[in-house]
């Protein structure tokens, strides 16, 4: 089975922030935030036409500053948050804000990326509210409540985790509770993830080499994996189907999988990258598929069957066992499934800081490297059919 070639889209600016449009379940759409100190920063909305293998883009201006983190609301397609650098008077502050995309972006600005003229007067994002953190320090990321109604976000600012309530159509944000990490030295959250399990009452954060779990109801720490990685932990992700499983990656070039009930040892170690791993993502539907991006300019798709929610492959119910399917069934059950690297993608020339699965198509993902190159790839068909059938 021949796989489709990757689709590459080049941004003019350097970029670190990438997210899929979480609330969109039909179109394959990614949002990219750029980093430029000299020009107005943009948010590129990348639409991918799976059938024709065509990318179309829209550009929205983000004049507030260079974007370090971006995340889309799970409830409202048009709402998103960014963390951006604001430079004023030789001071650099990272802020968080909630934005709304102008309603007409979709109608008017669908054009091919080859056409440069349209970018002359791109539309601006509409600011809904600031996640005012002047008293809390620099925001490193903003997290939406998974599968929530778009009313709750958490921002991580230096050593604070702040839970915000967005009211009045998200135009106002008030801190409902907060937690502070205390300890020696300058502690700083580097990454975080809101767990989709346990009624969304748990949060995992990373600072330096440690991973901590928080209970949002009491805003207190529930677990702490000291020295989870040899060096800095760069990213976290929760297994969408197994509530205690957590993946982390960091500067020791490793990806580790944890069962937070037993934090002494990782369940599994992956050591495939040759430099820091910046991003790790579970596939939303098939959690054996794990995507990692690294500053060795590679994206690696791994098949972690042994610790997935389907360790024996997709189990067919007995009812489905109709006449012709018997053979298939036998084949599947006896097949020993091994953890393996499915593929290494080398389309990038610079460090890859973000990878993201599409929220609409579980077999599609995007990766973004610092030089502004966005690559859209698919899970190899052979594997796809192997998982599905």
């Amino acid at each position: 089975m021949e796989d489709d070639a990757p689709v590459i889209y080049g941004l003019e600016f350097q970029a670190r922030a990438l997210t899929s449009q979480t609330a969109e379940s039909d179109a394959i759409r990614f949002l990219v935030g750029t980093q430029s100190l000299k020009f107005d920063n943009q948010i590129h909305i990348i639409d991918f036409d799976d059938e024709n293998n065509i990318i179309s883009k829209s550009v929205l201006q983000h004049q507030a500053g260079e974007i370090w983190h971006i995340s889309a609301s799970p409830a409202d397609k048009a709402v998103l948050t960014t963390c951006y650098n604001k430079t004023s008077e030789s001071r650099v502050v990272t802020c968080g804000a909630v934005w709304r995309m102008p309603p007409e972006w979709e109608s008017g600005s669908h054009e091919s990326p080859d056409d440069p003229h349209n970018s002359h007067n791109p539309q601006n994002l509409e600011l809904l509210c600031h996640l005012d953190n002047s008293s809390h320090g620099n925001a490193s990321c903003v997290l939406w409540e998974p599968m929530g109604d778009g009313k709750c976000v958490i921002s991580l600012a230096d050593n604070h985790a702040l839970l915000w309530d967005l009211t009045e159509s998200s135009t106002q944000a008030t801190i409902s509770s907060s937690a502070t990490l205390e300890g020696k030295g300058q502690l700083k959250f580097t990454a975080g993830k809101w767990s989709p399990h346990h009624n969304c009452t748990q949060l995992a954060t990373a600072n330096d080499t440690a991973i901590r779990g928080w209970d949002l109801r009491t805003m207190s720490q529930i677990y702490c994996i000291e020295n989870a990685h040899g060096q800095l932990v760069r990213d976290l992700d929760f297994n969408p189907n197994k509530q205690y499983y957590l993946a982390s990656c960091g500067d020791d070039c490793k990806v580790k999988f944890w069962d937070v009930r037993n934090i002494n040892e990782p369940v599994k170690n992956l050591e495939e990258h040759s430099h820091w791993v910046w991003s790790v993502r579970y596939n939303h539907s098939h959690d054996q598929l794990v995507l990692t991006g690294s500053s060795d300019s590679r994206v690696i798709l791994s098949n972690m069957v042994s610790i997935s929610s389907e360790p024996f492959g997709h189990l067919v119910d007995d009812d489905d066992l109709s006449d012709a399917e018997d053979n298939h069934q036998d084949e599947k059950t006896k097949e020993p499934l091994q953890d393996s690297i499915i593929s290494t993608y080398e389309e990038h020339e610079d460090s890859v800081y973000a990878v993201e699965w599409s929220s609409a198509d579980p077999w599609l993902f995007a990766s973004l490297s610092y030089d502004g190159r966005l690559v859209i790839n698919r899970v190899p068909r052979a594997l796809k059919y192997h998982i599905l059938l």
Partner: protein, 840 residues
């Protein structure tokens, strides 16, 4: 007689002088007398010639005519005279012969006449003799006739006499038996009784005999009683005992019972021996704190650390295995005692038992009872039971033998043990005892190998600890943790590093020596003078499986594995294992791969003449493993060292406020520290690894940085001229560069040489620098500071790496990225940078 001329011509010579001629004369005479036997055919051929004067068909007429025709007168005259001469000599010959024969005939006649006379005389004497013989026969017949009656009488009388003597014996028997009993001459009594027994049995119906028989029975019962008593007492010697048994057997005692008794008696004695042995096994009760001066804890620290120190001994054993032998008898003594006491008395018992019950000539009714089978069966059971107990004692003792200091004692003990059991094997061919003994020896040997392996391993670990201490000693305070004390770290480090090759050579030499000494110790098991060395186990499996695989190969594997563990356990923080140790071990493993493994295995194979019956670990497999370990260690070393430098760089980037920094006047101290550390790493690696190849570089590589920087500087200058409408903000040149340069693998495996190692470390450090820079925002002076720092690094780092372009590329990336992250990208003049850097 004319015809004879030719033939008799030579006869003129004296006949004796030539035997051939004489024979011819005889031949001719024979011919004359018709006795022609020889040379018939020859004669035949000649004879056809009528002119042949000697032939039978000689025709004088033809001959004469021929002569007359052929010869002249003179010749005829000569012929005639010659012929006359020949005829004359022939005549004289004939006369001589006739005369000789005549003489012989006369003497024969005389002899015959004389014989005739003698025979006549003899005939007369023979006649006389025959008459005499006739008269003798006559006489003798008459004498025998007269003496016949008396002869019969005498015969009868002598019969009566013997009968009477027998009777007398019988009647006297009770008294005799009594007397024998008194004198304890049991053997005589028994033999006497045996002689009389049948008779008494036969004539039992006669009262008098019955009486005798009863008496005898009574006495014999008493005697048997006494014998049994004696047998039971057991105090008597083996010889007495055997005599006793023999007599009892003759007295129809049941053999089975006797066997049992004999054996039980022997058992009690053997058990006493065993108890004696067992007593020695018990830990000494009075183990007071005897001030034993330990001779082993001298400077030469050998295999003195026991892997299993917690053996069940008194609290005073002080964890020192060498105290064991001094407190109790050593194993050789123990085995000796076992052999001398137990095994030899066992042999004695077996021998006398066999003499008594098994090998005795079978007579009469005893034969039918099939005693030998029964006896042998009992003996086997007996020997097996005792031997099992003995073996368990020996095994317990062997298991206590845990100190690996001197193997010869154990081997000698085992040898003696095994040798003595051979005696049992000889005495008792079908017994399982010797094979069990061999098994014990085999088990002991196996155990020994395990102990040696454990000892080698602990030795290795101890040596590593020593090396660690040696490495750590001069650099107190753990300055290797990175970032901390900038002063003194590398300086004192160098002192320790100088000794790295020394440490390596001492380490590998001491390991090799240890292996050799262990091999020598183990080799004792297969020495020629050791009895069990020719057992199949010691010839084959012990050498190949035991020594080669279990000991040597396992040890090498252990070395590799434990080395690899340093990479994993110490892994993440990198602080617990000193990097120098990693480097040292890496070199050690590499040396193993290149030479040591082959050497050790060849040594082993040679010493033990290993015949590979079963598949064994190949040298190449081991070498591969060692190489893998070496590679892993070196990679880890690079990672750890790179990390240490990375941490410094990262802290320096992260903690500074780059927007509000002042104009650079100096190279930052961190950069100097980085260069210093890199230099000391270079020295460290250079001590153990070869230089390696590097790409040729220009005469003054430190200056080349100018062009690279100028390009990046130029590019940053271009930046403001970009119009927002076409924002080409990306670092064009850098991207083009990237297109054509190969992807840089940061944490990639390194080669076994200095340049490759240093390249790896520098790569890691600079990449970290790059990534950290990208996360920050810079002001104008921040950028300039980075420029200065990078130039400084450029000046010093190029010389360490294999391809200086790599350093250029990475530093260029750093400056480029910094310029990119700069709010006010106004780069510093290259000349100013150079001035600052040269100022230091």
């Amino acid at each position: 007689m004319d015809g004879d001329i030719n033939a008799s011509a030579p006869a003129t010579t004296p006949p004796d002088s030539d035997p051939a001629r004489k024979r011819r004369v005889h031949g001719m005479l024979k011919l004359y007398y018709g006795l022609n036997e020889e040379g018939k055919t020859v004669d035949q051929a000649e004879s056809m010639d009528p002119c042949d004067i000697n032939g039978p068909h000689f025709d004088p007429e033809v001959y004469l005519n021929k002569l007359r025709r052929e010869c002249s007168l003179g010749e005829l005259m000569d012929q005639e005279s010659c012929m006359v001469k020949q005829i004359r000599s022939l005549d004289s010959d004939m006369q001589t012969l006739v005369y000789e024969n005549y003489n012989k005939f006369i003497s024969a006649t005389d002899t015959i006449r004389k014989m005739k006379n003698d025979f006549k005389k003899m005939e007369d004497e023979m006649d006389c003799l025959s008459t005499n013989m006739a008269s003798i026969t006559d006489f003798s017949a008459r004498i025998s006739g007269t003496l016949q009656d008396q002869h019969a009488q005498i015969t009868k009388l002598s019969g009566v006499h013997t009968l009477l003597r027998k009777l007398q014996f019988l009647f006297e028997l009770p008294a005799r038996l009594n007397k024998c009993l008194e004198l304890q001459a049991y053997a005589q009594a028994v033999s006497s009784h045996r002689r009389a027994r049948c008779v008494l049995q036969q004539y039992r119906h006669m009262p008098s005999f019955r009486g005798i028989q009863d008496d005898c029975h009574a006495i014999m019962d008493k005697l048997a009683q006494e014998l049994r008593q004696k047998f039971r007492d057991g105090g008597s010697s083996a010889k007495d005992l055997s005599e006793c048994v023999e007599l009892l057997l003759q007295l129809d005692e049941p053999a089975e019972e006797l066997c049992d008794k004999f054996l039980s008696h022997a058992q009690s004695r053997l058990e006493a021996d065993l108890l004696g042995l067992e007593a020695e096994l018990r830990p000494p009760l009075s183990s007071g704190p005897t001030a034993v001066t330990d001779p082993y804890t001298g400077p030469a620290r050998r295999l003195s650390v026991e892997p299993t120190a917690g053996s069940p001994t008194g609290p005073t054993s002080l964890n020192n295995p060498f105290l064991f032998p001094s407190l109790r008898t050593d194993i050789l003594e123990f085995i000796d005692r076992g052999c001398n006491e137990f095994v030899s008395s066992l042999c004695l018992v077996i021998a006398s038992y066999q003499e008594l019950f098994v090998n005795r000539p079978q007579e009469g009714e005893l034969a039918s009872k099939n005693i030998p089978q029964m006896a042998i069966g009992k003996l086997h059971a007996f020997v097996d039971a005792l031997a099992t107990r003995y073996f368990s004692l020996v095994e317990r003792r062997i298991q206590e033998e845990k100190s690996v200091g001197d193997n010869s004692l154990l081997v000698r003990a085992l040898d003696r043990f095994h040798r003595r059991l051979q005696a049992v094997a000889k005495l008792l061919p079908g017994s399982a005892v010797p094979s069990q003994g061999t098994e014990i020896v085999v088990r002991a040997a196996r155990e020994r190998i395990k102990q040696y392996l454990a000892a080698l391993q602990s030795f290795y670990l101890n040596s590593l600890t020593d090396v660690r201490q040696a490495l750590a000693a001069p650099r107190l305070g753990g300055s290797s943790a990175g970032g901390g004390s900038h002063l003194g770290g590398p300086a004192t480090g160098k002192d320790a590093l100088a000794s790295l090759p020394e440490l390596l050579s001492t380490l590998s030499a001491s390991i090799l020596n240890q292996i050799k000494s262990v091999l020598a110790s183990v080799h004792l098991f297969t020495a020629k003078d050791i009895t069990f060395s020719n057992k199949p186990y010691f010839k084959g499996e012990f050498c190949s499986h035991g020594v080669r695989e279990s000991l040597v190969v396992n040890f090498i594997k252990f070395v590799c594995q434990s080395s690899r563990q340093f990479c994993e356990s110490a892994g993440d923080r990198g602080g617990s294992t000193p990097p120098a140790l990693l480097l040292l071990l890496s070199r050690l493993c590499l040396d193993y791969e290149t030479s040591s493994i082959t050497y050790i295995l060849t040594l082993t194979d040679e010493q033990f003449l290993v015949q590979h019956h079963s598949p064994v670990t190949a040298v190449t497999a081991l070498c591969g493993e060692a190489r893998e370990a070496a590679q892993k260690l070196l990679n880890h070393y690079v990672k750890v060292q790179g990390l240490i430098i990375s941490q410094m760089l990262r802290k320096s980037v992260e903690t500074r406020d780059w927007v509000n920094t002042i104009e650079p006047r100096n190279v930052r101290a961190v950069m100097k520290r980085v260069v210093e550390d890199t230099t000391s790493i270079d020295v460290q690696v250079g001590l153990l690894y070869e230089e390696g190849v590097r790409k040729a570089h220009s005469s003054d590589s430190s200056k080349r940085t100018f062009s690279v920087y100028s390009s990046s500087r130029q590019q940053t200058r271009y930046a403001p001229s970009y119009t927002p409408s076409a924002p080409m903000d990306t670092n064009l040149l850098s991207n083009i560069h990237k297109l054509f340069s190969e992807r840089v693998e940061i944490f990639s495996p390194v080669e076994f040489n200095k340049v490759s190692v240093l390249t790896g470390i520098i790569k890691i450090s600079l990449k970290t620098f790059l990534e950290c820079v990208r996360l920050r925002t810079f002001g104008r002076y921040g950028l300039q500071q980075i420029q200065v720092d990078c130039h400084y690094l450029q000046m010093y780092l190029w010389r360490f790496v294999s391809d200086e372009n790599l350093v250029h590329f990475l530093l260029d990336e750093i400056v480029g990225s910094t310029a990119h992250r700069c709010l006010d990208p106004a780069p510093m003049e290259q000349s100013v940078i150079e001035v600052i850097c040269e100022r230091g």
